[in-house]
Amino acid sequence: MPIEHASVVLDRLVKVFAGSGRDVVAVNDVTLSIQPGELVTLLGPSGCGKTTALRMVAGFEMPTSGKVFIGGRDVTNTPPNLRNTAMVFQSYALFPHMTVRENIGYGLRFRNIAKSDAGEKVERIMELVGLSGLGDRSPNQLSGGQQQRVALARALVVEPRVLLFDEPLSNLDAKLREQMRGEIRRIQKSLSITAVYVTHDQNEAMSISDRVVVMRNGQIEQVGTPEDIYAKPLTRFVADFVGKVNFIPVSIVESGQEETSVEIFGRQMTIPKVSYSSGETHLAVVRPEELRLMPPDNGFVHGEVTSRTYLGSVVEYDLALSDGLTLMAIEYNPKAKPPFEIGDVAGVYFDLDKLHLLK
C-alpha cells in the first residue's frame, strides 16, 4: 500500500485555554520537526500538553500562535476533515451504530473510491490487523483489544499522511498492551507512515519510538532517541521520568587534559573529561542496574540494605548510606549470587567511564 510520506513540523506552537479565573498554557512554544516515516512519541506526565499538541496537528484545536506544517504545507488554517491525518483515540471512538466493516470503511466515503475497491481495501486492512471474520459484528460485541484493532484499521485504511495516536493502549491490560504496541510498530514500519504517538508510559515510548519528545508543563524538555533519553538525560526531570534513577552528587576537583578529577562519596576519583569547571557540584545519573553490590570491603562506598524486593528476574535493593543518601540497585539473574539480606552491609561499585553528569 503506497502511502505518501509526509513530514510534520510544529513551529513555535502555543495553545492557551482561557480558564475561569486563570488561563492555562497547555502548550508553550513547542518546535518540533518529524521526518517522513518516523514514529515520534510525545512523552510526559498527565496534563503536560501532549494531547493538546496532538489535537493541533489533527486540527481539533486552533493554535493560539505558531504554525503546523504537514508535508511542507502550512495547514494551520485547514479544517480537520481536509488534513488527511488519522487519529486513534484513547477511547477508540468507534461508531456504536455501525458494524466493524462500516466503521473501518467510513473514511473511504470521503475519498472518491469505487465501492468495490473500498470493500476490498477494508477486507485487506482487516486481515492486516487481525480482524478477519469479525466484519459484521457491532463494536460492543468486541473485546477491548479487538476494538483497538478496529480503531487502528479505521485510521490505516484511509492511507493518511500522518497517523496520530492518543494513548491508544491505556485501556488494555498489560499483556495485551505489549502485544499491541509491537503490532503498531510493525505496521507503522511496514507502511513507513509518519506517526505521532502520545503516551505517559515510558516503557511504551521507549519500545515503540524512533525518537522520544519528553514534555513538561507544555514545553519540550528533551528530544532524542530512546537510548539518548535514557542514558543521557539533559535534566533531572527527564532522568527521573524515564526509568528509575539514582542521583549521586559529584564535585569537580580539577579538569585535566584527558581526565577530570572528581570527588564522589568523599573519595577522590578520576573520570573521563567533562567540561564543567572545578569547584562545581553536579548530579550524576546512575541507573539502578548500573550499580553492583559486593562484599562490604569492596566498592566506592558501603551502605546498609533497607529493603529487598524479589521480582523473579531481578531483585531490587534499597541501600542507606552513612551520609544520608539512599541508593537503589537492581541485580539481574538473582540466582547467580547469594542474596543480601535486610540489615546486611554491601559495597557499591559502578563504572566511572560512562558517568553522565547533569548540568
Binding site: P80, N81, A93, P139, N140, A155, V158
Partner: protein, 565 residues
C-alpha cells in the same frame, strides 16, 4: 516569566481564535448565523415590540401606561393576586411533588408504576380539562356541591378553585425535578448516616432534605413561573380574582388597548424572568448532588410503617383526584345537561364534531408542521451549545432558553405586534402559529439534546471529522443516530405541547386557523360544558394515539442509552 508577557491572553484573543476556527468551517458559520437570525427575529424581536408598544402608547416615549397601571388599585391588586397565587401554588406543588418523588424513590410504596404515571399525567392533559372537571364537580351545578352536599351558594370560582386546579396540574413540574434529584443522590450517603446510628427521621432531615434543597428551590421557582404564566385555568375559573395573564388578554383583545395590554404583559414578564434567572444561574449552580454514575441500587433503607402508609395515602388521594377529573370529563361528555338533566346523550359529540372538525384538522396540521422543525432545530442548537465554540455562544444559549421564562401571553402579544406588517406580515396565517410553537417549545428539545450529547464521547464525532466528514455530514450520520432517543423525546414533548398550547396561541388563531384549545375555551365561555368535555376528550385521544404511533414508528423515547466505549 517575562516571556509569558508576550503570550498574554485575554477574552478578545480567545474570541478571535474561536471566530477564526468557525470561519474555516463555512457550514458551521452559516448554521450559527441562521440560528442567531431566527432567534433574534422570533424570540427577541417580539418581546422588544411588547416593551416598545408599552412605552410608546402614542408613538411618543411615555411612562403614562405604567403610571396608570400603578395608580389603579384594581390593577395593583391584579399584580398582587398573580404573585400570591404563584407563591401558594409553588409551595403546595413543591410539597406534593416532593411527596411523590420521595415516596417513589425512597418510600418503598406499592404500585410505583401507577403512581409515576399519575404524577406525569397532568403534563399531557389538555388545558381547561381540570377546571372543567372542577366546575362539574364543585361548581354551582356541581355533583359534589349541589347533589351530594346540597350547597346552594358555594362558589368555587376564585382563588381556591385556582389553587386546586393549578396545584393538581403543576405539581408534576416539581415532581420531575425532584425525582431526578432523588435518583441522583447516592443512597449510600443516607445509608451511611443510618449506619452511624441516626434515626430514620434524623437521616431524612439532616441528609436527604439538605441534599434536595437546591432541587426544592428549583421546583418552587419553576412552578411559580408556570403558575404565573398560566392562562387557561384563570380565564375559566378565576371569577373575580383577577390575574395578569387574563387581564392582559382582555385589555389587548377585548378592549383593543394595545399599550395597556402590553404593559400588563410586561408586569407579568418581570417576576417570571426574575424567577427563571434565579433558578438557572444561581440555584441550579448550587446543586451538590453526588452522581455516582451507577444506577441507584435497591439497598434503600425503608421508611417506618407509619411513614409508608402516610406516603401511600397522600399519593393515593392525589392520584384519586386526578382520576376523578378524568372520569368527570368523560361523564360530562355523555350527560345531557349536567346538574339538571342526567340522561345519556351523544348530542354533545354530534355538536362538537360539527363545530370542531375544522379545528381538529388545523390543530393537527399546525402541530405536525411544528413538531419535526422544533425537534431538529432543538438538536442543532444543542449541538452548537455542547460541541462547538464560538463568540457569543452564551448569549445564544440564553436566548434559546428564554422561551422557558417568557409567559405565553407575552409571546402571543409580541407575535401580534411584531408580525402585523410587511415584510413579516403573518397575522392570520398558519405560519405565525407554527413559528410560535417552534420557538416556545424548542427549549425542551434543546435540553433533551444537551443532556444526551454530554453523555456521548465527543471523540466519536471528532473521529468522523478526522476521517474526512464535514460538520453537516457528521451531524447527520453520527450525531443524530446517537441522540435519537432524546430527539424522539423532544418530538413527543413538542407535539403534546403544540396540541395543548393556549396562552400564546389564543392571540394568534384566526377563523381559518383555529386551535382546538381555543375552541374549548369558547365552548366553556358559553357554558356548553358537555361540548367542552367532548372536545377535551378528542384532544386526549389524539395525543395518546399520536404518542403511541411515534413509539411504534420511531422507537422508545424514554430509554437512555449510554453511548461510547
Amino acid at each position: 516569566m517575562e516571556e509569558n508577557q508576550s503570550k498574554r491572553f485575554d477574552r478578545w484573543t480567545e474570541a478571535k481564535h474561536e471566530l477564526a476556527m468557525v470561519c474555516r468551517n463555512p457550514i458551521l458559520l452559516a448554521t450559527i448565523l441562521l440560528v442567531s437570525a431566527l432567534l433574534i427575529v422570533f424570540v427577541i424581536y417580539p418581546i422588544v415590540q411588547v416593551i416598545r408598544v408599552s412605552l410608546k402608547p402614542d408613538g411618543e416615549f411615555s411612562l403614562d401606561t405604567y403610571g396608570y397601571l400603578l395608580s389603579q388599585w384594581w390593577l395593583r391588586q391584579t399584580f398582587i393576586n398573580s404573585v400570591v397565587l404563584g407563591v401558594i401554588v409553588a409551595t403546595l406543588g413543591t410539597i406534593v411533588g416532593f411527596t411523590f418523588a420521595y415516596a417513589l424513590n425512597r418510600g418503598d410504596i406499592p404500585r410505583k408504576k401507577f403512581f409515576r404515571l399519575m404524577a406525569q399525567l397532568p403534563i399531557i392533559s389538555p388545558p381547561f380539562m381540570f377546571c372543567l372537571s372542577v366546575i362539574l364537580l364543585l361548581g354551582r351545578n356541581g355533583i359534589i356541591t349541589k347533589q351530594l352536599l346540597g350547597l346552594k351558594n358555594f362558589d368555587i370560582y376564585g382563588l381556591k378553585g385556582l389553587v386546586l386546579v393549578q396545584t393538581m396540574g403543576m405539581f408534576p413540574v416539581a415532581f420531575m425535578v425532584l425525582d431526578g434529584v432523588l435518583q441522583a443522590i447516592n443512597p449510600d450517603l443516607e445509608e451511611g448516616a443510618s449506619n452511624l446510628g441516626a434515626s430514620k427521621a434524623k437521616v431524612f432531615w439532616t441528609v436527604t432534605v439538605p441534599l434536595c434543597v437546591p432541587g426544592i428551590a428549583s421546583s418552587w421557582l419553576l412552578v411559580f413561573v408556570t403558575s404565573l404564566a398560566d392562562f387557561a385555568n384563570p380565564v375559566v375559573i378565576s371569577g373575580k380574582f383577577d390575574v395578569l395573564s387574563v387581564q392582559a388578554y382582555f385589555q389587548f383583545t377585548g378592549l383593543y388597548n394595545m399599550p395597556r395590554g402590553s404593559a400588563v404583559a410586561i408586569l407579568l414578564l418581570i417576576p417570571a424572568m426574575l424567577a427563571f434567572v434565579i433558578e438557572r444561574y444561581w440555584v441550579s449552580k448550587k446543586s451538590y448532588v453526588t452522581v455516582t454514575g451507577k444506577p441507584t441500587s435497591y439497598r434503600i433503607i425503608g421508611p417506618s410503617k407509619a411513614t409508608k402508609s402516610a406516603l401511600t395515602a397522600v399519593c393515593s388521594i392525589i392520584s384519586g383526584i386526578i382520576l376523578l377529573f378524568y372520569i368527570t370529563v368523560i361523564a360530562g361528555a355523555f350527560v345531557r345537561l349536567w346538574g339538571i338533566d342526567w340522561s345519556f346523550t351523544l348530542d354533545h359529540f354530534r355538536y362538537a364534531w360539527d363545530v370542531g372538525k375544522d379545528s381538529v384538522r388545523s390543530t393537527l396540521v399546525l402541530s405536525a408542521w411544528a413538531t419535526p422543525i422544533t425537534g431538529l432545530l432543538g438538536m442543532v442548537i444543542a449541538f452548537l451549545l455542547v460541541r462547538t465554540r464560538f463568540p457569543g455562544k452564551n448569549i445564544l444559549g440564553f436566548t434559546s432558553m428564554l422561551a422557558f421564562a417568557v409567559p405565553g401571553t407575552v409571546v402571543g402579544i409580541g407575535y401580534i405586534l411584531a408580525f402585523n406588517q410587511p415584510p413579516l406580515l403573518l397575522t392570520g396565517t398558519a405560519a405565525i402559529i407554527v413559528l410560535c410553537f417552534i420557538f416556545r417549545e424548542m427549549p425542551v428539545a434543546i435540553e433533551a439534546g444537551v443532556a444526551s450529547l454530554i453523555q456521548i464521547d465527543p471523540s466519536i464525532e471528532e473521529a468522523s471529522t478526522n476521517l474526512g466528514a464535514d460538520t453537516s455530514y457528521t451531524f447527520r450520520c453520527i450525531t443524530m443516530p446517537l441522540v435519537r432517543p432524546a430527539f424522539i423525546a423532544g418530538l413527543s414533548y413538542s407535539f403534546v405541547r403544540s396540541m395543548t398550547a393556549v396562552s400564546a396561541v389564543i392571540f394568534l388563531v384566526s377563523a381559518r386557523w383555529n386551535h382546538l384549545t381555543s375552541l374549548i375555551y369558547a365552548q366553556t365561555e358559553i357554558m356548553r360544558l358537555g361540548a367542552a368535555s367532548v372536545l377535551s376528550l378528542f384532544l386526549i385521544i389524539i395525543v395518546v394515539v399520536i404518542f403511541g404511533l411515534m413509539r411504534v414508528f420511531l422507537g422508545e423515547p424514554v430509554t437512555r442509552v449510554r453511548v461510547g466505549n
